[in-house]
């Protein structure tokens, strides 16, 4: 597998006046930004964080007079340029969620882009049909996208790559107001390379499923409390009651029908009955004949229209083919100057019967013959289709006249039927009305039972849902347990290495904290955002807390140099290697320790950027430094007015 790498090659910052405030190149390996206090070192790391997609707006006044940051970066072998504008609202608040622009080339190229390349703009938010800049960063670093959770952004990743000055020393991650254990756990799993997408999804699902389970339990309890009669919640019982009443209605209906029939029989004369029935049957038959003819007419109309469209299309294709043949003939008479494949100049060939390209003898007529044959084939199709069209049109005319004739017959028969109906007399209305009333009453009862059934079935479904959720929760817990167990093995390997690196840094600290010198255990708890030695509740001096945090963060970085499976992109940037009153010699010792440690590895495989006002004379003269030594008179940002 490929090792993840992120490198910052160059950073440029523009002022609001369009002037260059900062423009420096960074190299692979160790990069040191040095200068006096308040000369703008932190501002550079702020801009690095910002241009890489960090949600940041707490710029110092000089930085607020800048308009844009541009960075050339390399990610897993691909070099490209990103830029981000500092966007202020009407109250001069800077947006933390401005978009990021990408140019798929180096920075110099991006200043004068060739015509076939242009910038692309990606917003902050990921939606279903639109990618965000986080998606692009994740893609380029081969980080799996955390589906369904838009909070796992590249900003979250940067919180473990950037050691800032503003976060409290008790916060392992870059500090954030609204933060969750799951987010920190997910981000650390991603970077350590132990993120399992399915595990993450199932953990989220378990939370939802358990909530749903409790909710349904409450609903079941409330429902069963509301209905004191257990049978009222039994769908089988209610269905039976409904069925009985439907049978009763059916019986009443039959009684109504029998009364009507009896009345009819009494009043019908024999001749009248026979005559009416025959006429009615005749009407039915004639109506069917008319309908059949109408269907045939509709079918033929559709066929005719379809044929017309088909012929129209074929005509166009004939023309297209003629144009194609003609084009081929024209080009055949034209001398070819360049190779169609690579567009190199073609050497002239004297043999006219040989191909100018491959020098083989050719029969130039083959392609044209093929096209002509196709032309003939389409011509045949056109002729055949036209014949069918004419036949269909003739048939349509015949059918339409037949339709008129049959419609006339139908009208005649209908008149006779209407006349015969006059013999029908009224029925015993009172008895039928009574039966209808009884029927209506029972139908009302059925409606009530259906409402009860609805509740009963809902209750039944709740019970089923509860069972199903119970099983799902069990399965999820089992899956999570097994998967986490397997994951633990890889985590152990990684954590052992992190521990080893952490202990090294602590043991080799100057003798300012006894627990560090004697440390033989070291733990990072990402979920709870803390690093500790043996107890989470140990307290140290402020400068030692600072040292512990920095050691923890660098131990992750150092471990990634050893373990290829880690997705941590071998990139770390730290603002201030000294804070909380840590003394110069202790801070310098830490710098030396780190530089010696990374010297064991190929400098082309990682990048470490840090700021310091405690640089040794030796380092100040080395190739590790970036830019000038910054002072009040010579700050990092220039041309600020």
């Amino acid at each position: 597998m490929m090792r993840n790498n992120l490198f910052l090659n160059r950073l440029r910052i523009y002022t609001e006046n369009g002037e260059i405030a900062y423009d420096e190149k960074f190299h692979k390996g160790v990069n040191i930004i040095r200068g006096d206090n308040s000369s703008g070192k932190s501002t550079i790391t702020h801009f690095i964080f910002f241009v890489l997609g960090g949600a940041f707006n707490d710029f110092v006044p000089e930085a607020r007079l800048c308009s844009q940051a541009i960075a050339e970066v390399e990610m897993n072998g691909a070099t490209f340029t990103i830029k981000r504008d500092i966007i202020k609202d009407e109250k001069s608040n800077i947006s933390t969620q401005s978009p990021l622009y990408f140019f798929w080339g180096n920075m110099d190229e991006s200043f004068n882009p060739p015509v076939d390349k242009s910038w692309q703009k990606f917003g902050y938010k990921t939606t279903e049909n639109r990618k965000s800049f986080s998606n692009i960063m994740f893609d380029n670093l081969d980080l799996p996208i955390v589906k369904g959770d838009n909070n796992i952004t590249f900003h979250q990743i940067l919180r473990l790559l950037y050691i800032d000055q503003e976060s409290p020393t008790s916060s392992l991650f870059l500090y954030e107001h609204f933060d969750s254990q799951l987010t920190r756990e997910t981000v650390s799993d991603l970077l350590l390379g132990v993120y399992n997408e399915e595990l993450y999804e199932n953990k989220k699902r378990l939370i939802s499923a358990e909530k749903e389970f409790e909710s349904i339990k409450s609903e079941i309890k409330a429902t069963s409390h509301f209905f004191s009669d257990p049978l009222a919640l039994n769908p089988i019982h209610i269905n039976e009651a409904i069925e009985n009443r439907e049978i009763a209605i059916s019986e009443i209906q039959q009684e109504i029908v029998s009364i009507r029939n009896k009345d009819k029989e009494v009043n019908y004369e024999k001749d009248s009955e026979l005559s009416f029935q025959k006429l009615n049957q005749d009407a039915i038959l004639q109506r069917k004949i008319v309908a059949d003819i109408e269907n045939q007419i509709t079918y033929l109309n559709n066929e005719i229209e379809d044929s017309a469209f088909f012929i129209e299309t074929l005509d166009k294709k004939i023309i297209a083919l003629k144009n194609s043949i003609h084009t081929r003939e024209f080009l055949g008479n034209l001398p070819l100057e360049y190779c169609p494949e690579c567009l190199s100049k073609i050497k002239t060939n004297t043999e006219s019967s040989n191909c100018k390209l491959c020098k083989e003898p050719i029969d130039e007529s083959f392609g044209v013959v093929q096209a002509r044959r196709m032309e003939l084939e389409i011509g045949f199709q056109i002729n055949e289709s036209k014949k069918i069209l004419e036949i269909n049109k003739r048939n349509l005319l015949e059918l339409e006249s037949k339709h008129s004739s049959e419609i006339g017959k139908l009208h005649d028969i209908q008149k006779q039927v209407n006349s015969a109906l006059e013999d029908v007399k009224s029925f015993n209305e009172e008895a039928i009305d009574n039966l209808n009333n009884k029927k209506g009453f029972i139908e009302g009862e059925i409606l009530q039972f259906r409402t009860m059934l609805e509740n009963a079935e809902l209750y039944d479904r709740l019970l089923q849902k509860k069972n199903q959720l119970g099983k799902e929760v069990s399965y999820l817990k089992s899956y999570i347990f097994k998967t986490e167990k397997a994951q633990t093995l890889l985590k152990q390997t990684i954590n052992e290495k992190i521990k080893e690196e952490g202990i090294y840094l602590l043991n080799n600290d100057l003798e300012r904290q006894d627990e560090f010198k004697n440390a033989n255990d070291f733990f990072i708890d990402y979920s709870n955002n803390i690093a500790f030695l043996t107890s989470k509740f140990s307290k140290y001096s402020a400068s030692s807390n600072f040292y512990l945090k920095v050691a923890a963060r660098f131990s992750i970085f150092l471990a990634s140099l050893h373990i290829d499976e880690m997705r941590y992109p071998r990139f770390i940037f730290a603002d201030n290697m000294e804070d909380k009153g840590i003394e110069m010699i202790r801070a310098q010792n830490l710098q030396d320790l780190l530089i010696k440690r990374v010297n064991d590895f190929d400098g082309d495989n990682y990048q470490m950027i840090y700021t310091t006002s405690y640089i040794t004379e030796e380092l100040n003269k080395s190739i590790l430094v970036v830019g000038d030594y910054y002072t009040k008179e010579n700050p990092s940002l220039k041309n600020i007015k």
Partner: protein
């Protein structure tokens, strides 16, 4: 049943592209993607009615409605415009290479995703060999090479976005 499809015929593609290019003089430069889009509408004129127009383009809307009638012929219906556009792409690119190999367009511009005409005489000679195109197709060419040559390719109101034939969400 219909065995011939001019959309997938290299020579017919050359025929269409040469008719489009004939609207321009020597040294004219046009983006490849723009001409590819024009060619799509020359192939499928009815699709021109799906191009999004703005409030201020009511004159174009009238021209479109009046001179390029929508077709009801089911044999010429296509769904999935984007898919078709992607399918004809290799024929279009091969056609451009062929046209460049005859010295009609500049091959070095082709490598930069642009078309530059360098031999207008051959174009004129070619078009002269053919009868006039049907009115509908002539009108499509006229509309494409005038109004849809002036607007940008990129951005919300660009040609890519209005036609929805190419991705434009991330243009900057």
């Amino acid at each position: 049943m219909i065995v011939y499809n001019q959309a997938l015929d290299l020579y017919h593609t050359i025929f269409r592209l040469l008719h489009l290019l004939n609207k321009f003089e020597n040294k004219s430069v046009i983006e490849i993607e723009r001409i590819r889009i024009w060619d799509f509408y020359l192939l499928f004129p009815s699709k021109i009615h799906e191009i999004k127009l703005k409030q201020g383009e009511s004159d174009i809307r009238k021209l479109r409605k009046q001179f390029i009638k929508d077709s009801k012929n089911p044999y010429e219906k296509i769904s999935e415009s984007r898919k078709i556009f992607e399918k004809i792409k290799p024929y279009q690119l091969a056609a451009f290479n062929c046209i460049a190999s005859y010295g009609i367009i500049d091959k070095s511009f082709l490598n930069q995703q642009r078309i530059s005409i360098i031999n207008k005489e051959i174009l004129i000679e070619f078009v002269k060999n053919f009868e006039d195109l049907p009115a509908k197709e002539k009108n499509v060419i006229a509309l494409m090479t005038s109004h849809f040559n002036q607007i940008s390719l990129f951005g919300t109101d660009g040609l890519k976005s209005r036609t929805n034939l190419l991705e434009s969400k991330y243009d900057a």
